[in-house]
Amino acid sequence: MILLGLLETGSAYGYDLKHRYDRLFGLRKRLAFGQIYATLARLMRDNCIEELAAEAGHGPERRRYHITDTGLRRVESWLFTPDIPHENLQSNLFAKTVIALLIDDDAERLLDGQRHAHLERMRQLTSEKRGADFATAALCDHALFHLEADLRWIDLISARLRDLRESIER
């Protein structure tokens, strides 16, 4: 999905995609070229991207890819479907936020959607806690504190969307 999102900013070669990905998201694990081409092949098969006329005399890395209407719709629905609130770091959420900024979509709206999904889950946990035994309540609290930490991060990043946009567009 991230590669598809990057393609929404303009058509690109596989090689460029890898480098943009690594720069924006590759803190922990860089993408191998093999992974890039496997993903691109899958996106081609699903009609999310198409190949622009290949430039003569070059290998596969000279193919240029372009996003289709199906691809655009796929990105839109990925962006605005909140992630299931897990009590661990929302790296997919970060990726969605960055892509939304890159393609000038509404990053604030997707963060609001996520905030709402998190609060909904926290409401459930809070009501499960009511009348529960101590062990159950302790587990609910553990989840609540982790979700709260996510929410603080969401609040912070919402407040700094402009800075984030500047730093990724450089």
Partner: protein
Amino acid sequence: MNSSAPPSTLPGIPPATSPGATPLITARDLHLAFGLTEALRGVDLTIRSGEILAIMGPSGSGKSTLLHILAGVLVPDRGSVVYNGQRISTMNEAERARLRLAEFGFVFQFGQLLPDLSALDNVSIPLLLGGMSRREALARSEELLGSFGLSSCKDKRPPQLSGGQAQRVALARALVAGPRVLFADEPTGSLDSLSSEQVMEMLAATVRGFGVTLVVVTHDARTAAYADREVIVRDGQIRSGFEL
């Protein structure tokens, strides 16, 4: 509401209405500027009878200003607030004061209890203002403090109470006259996790038990999780789209 009706007392009074779809407060297109600062820039909000609503959003976004307008403490420059069929936003100060005394309760983040009075005397203030005899007011207040687990604190003055205890005393004072709406601004803002939980458990159980509508401003997600829903204020506006 007319001002001659004595305030009903909370303990023992069954809920007037169960939480439902009836709008109790309807705010439309609220604008308010403090000098050049536009604190609110066109807020629409409908609050249903018996619901718990959390108002969230960044610092300075206009949450407290909104709460004060909904409660008839501040008057908007433009727009309207209708409470239970009455247009609060065009009432004069005396009418609003009467309405607040008869129908609303308030809890703020700090500095709200009178430091020279005992906890018990603090709680009884709204009843005395409502015209109840001192003896009866003290008896009611004592009963409510007891049900909040604060009997042992009743003779202490606010500086001798812990933050959590002081907040629960403030809650008792806000609820003692049986308000229909309780407005709370960061009621857990200065408390640790455990005291916040105790305050919110007590607050949520009490308002649900008596069908009181609660509007709570908070930046604390665990506090907001006691609400039925949340709205986010940003730059003096509420972004819609995630309402129930």
